[in-house]
């Protein structure tokens, strides 16, 4: 096989592995890269973000996004399914409106609103992430299910499939690519948004960035930004690999 053919066959599966390796490499390299960052920020006294270990920040960041995305998927997909059942149809317009509205709301505003009621730290961050991540999932979930050809549904019912069979054998497989695209958007945006959680005291990869901005230390900013960027790319390529290819 030629290199091109190999890439076509395994490339999509390979990309997340490569990005993941890049991420691990970055974690190993950053603490030792004093020379590079000193050259980058000659004025600063300390050039490697000292307050926390990058790996700990990354894991915490991932945990926040993981919990929030898990909840968002559960709620978003669940709501999309409920409002497309015959008994939940009444709520379909409401759900559609919510899904359309959400994206016009900046995440910082959600965070700012969460603090007074939930205080500082991880909890309000997770709540904000869930609220913000819910909407693309709900929207795509609805689009995926509503996008199924009504004739296919009619035939399925006419052949004697039960509602459960229609859901598992027809609706979910047919809506999966669109749903997955929504989850992908939600998670990728969540990785970036979680960094803002640092402003309200959650431990995330945003910490070095905030510290860098406050102290005028561009080396810190770059360290946080690099990690967030590579993390987002790793997860995004993972979704790319998971998405079923169109026939």
């Amino acid at each position: 096989m030629s290199a091109v053919a190999i890439w076509h066959r395994y490339g999509r599966g390979l990309a997340p592995l490569l990005w993941g390796a890049g991420l691990v490499g970055l974690l190993a390299w950053l603490p030792r890269a004093e020379g590079f960052f000193r050259w980058l920020a000659p004025g600063a006294r300390v050039v490697i973000y000292p307050r926390d270990d990058f790996t700990a920040l990354l894991l915490n960041h991932l945990a926040l996004v993981g919990v929030a995305s898990g909840l968002a998927i559960l709620l978003g997909v669940g709501a999309a399914l409920v409002v497309t059942r015959p008994w939940g149809r009444d709520f379909l317009p409401l759900a559609s409106q919510l899904a359309a509205m959400g994206q016009t709301f900046p995440p910082v505003a959600v965070l700012a609103l969460a603090v007074p009621s939930l205080g500082f730290g991880a909890l309000p961050t997770v709540v904000a992430l869930v609220l913000y991540g819910l909407l693309p999932i709900l929207r795509n979930g609805l689009a995926g299910i509503e996008g199924i050809d009504p004739a296919v549904r009619e035939a399925a019912r006419g052949m004697g499939m039960s509602p459960g069979q229609v859901l598992w054998r027809l609706e979910l497989p047919l809506a999966a690519p669109v749903m997955l695209a929504g989850i992908r958007t939600s998670v990728t945006v969540g990785i970036a948004t979680a960094a803002i959680g640092s402003t309200i005291g959650a431990k995330t990869l945003g910490d070095p960035i905030i510290a860098g901005i406050v102290n005028g230390n561009s080396a810190y900013i770059l360290q946080g930004a690099l990690l967030i960027g590579v993390l987002a790319l790793t997860l995004d390529s993972l979704f790319e690999a998971l998405t079923p290819r169109r026939r």
Binding site: V152, R153, E154, A155, G158, M159, G160, Q165, L174, R247
Partner: protein
Amino acid sequence: MTETPRIALKGVTKRFGAETAVDAISLNIAAGEFCVLVGTSGCGKSTTLRMINRLIEHSDGEIHIDGQPIREIDPQRLRRRIGYAIQSTGLFPHWTVARNIALVPGLLKWPRARTLERVEELMTLLGLAPSEFADKYPAQLSGGQAQRVGVARALAADPEILLMDEPFGALDPITRESLQEELRRLQGRIRKTIVFVTHDMDEALKLADRLVVMRAGRIVQQGSPAELLAAPADEFVASLLGGRDRGLKRAALTPVARLMRPVDARLPMEPAVAPDEDLRLALSVMLWHRVETLAVVDGEGRACGSLHLSDLMGGGI
């Protein structure tokens, strides 16, 4: 006492809100009968069909299958017993042709081997070579092939009853005619009870044992195609049946063999018609060749009779 009809509708009404889509219709369909519903758009044909498999619940009256009220039968069980084919096929886009056909046997938990055998049998019956089509996806099929798969899927679990809602409505005339021809041949072999909706009067006349004309939710007239053509109940039925074109439509119902005289040795072998071709075609051939007599030649190319225009005019049709 006559036999219980396979399907009996007794004063069946369907209301959608204030609107009455089907208004107290009564209809008996015998086992093995090919019943075609015709009528203008919106007159309630699809609604009638879909009440039979409980995709729509009737508001009033009773529908019986083999004497049993369908309200007493679990809708899913009922539908698995009734084949259903629709114009837009509704094939599952993410399933192969073979898997689509195997849908109902799968729901009925047939053993795998029996299902596979049945799928292959049906594909062959409907002219879809299993080696070529079994693993294709619906998007890879032509309209005619997809419709064949739709019919095969409806027949898969060998149901007694087949409901077909304009199954050939979206096909080009040539494909449509060949599928009609095949369905008629198929029906000759399998003798299902078929309820068929169509807009195409030629299709209706060609396929129907019983033709049911509907208008605004009611049955205006029913009977065999010949009966209806001979004595349409009113202007509406007459115009639906083709108005002044009825003469030819009626000729199309009669095979040449019916009016055939013995072989006439003086007649040339050309132009000729076959005994199983219809009189409309024979008329067309006469008109084209400007002759009043035609040789009747069978499939093997042997003369088996002659056809005279005067017999057509003499009231034979």
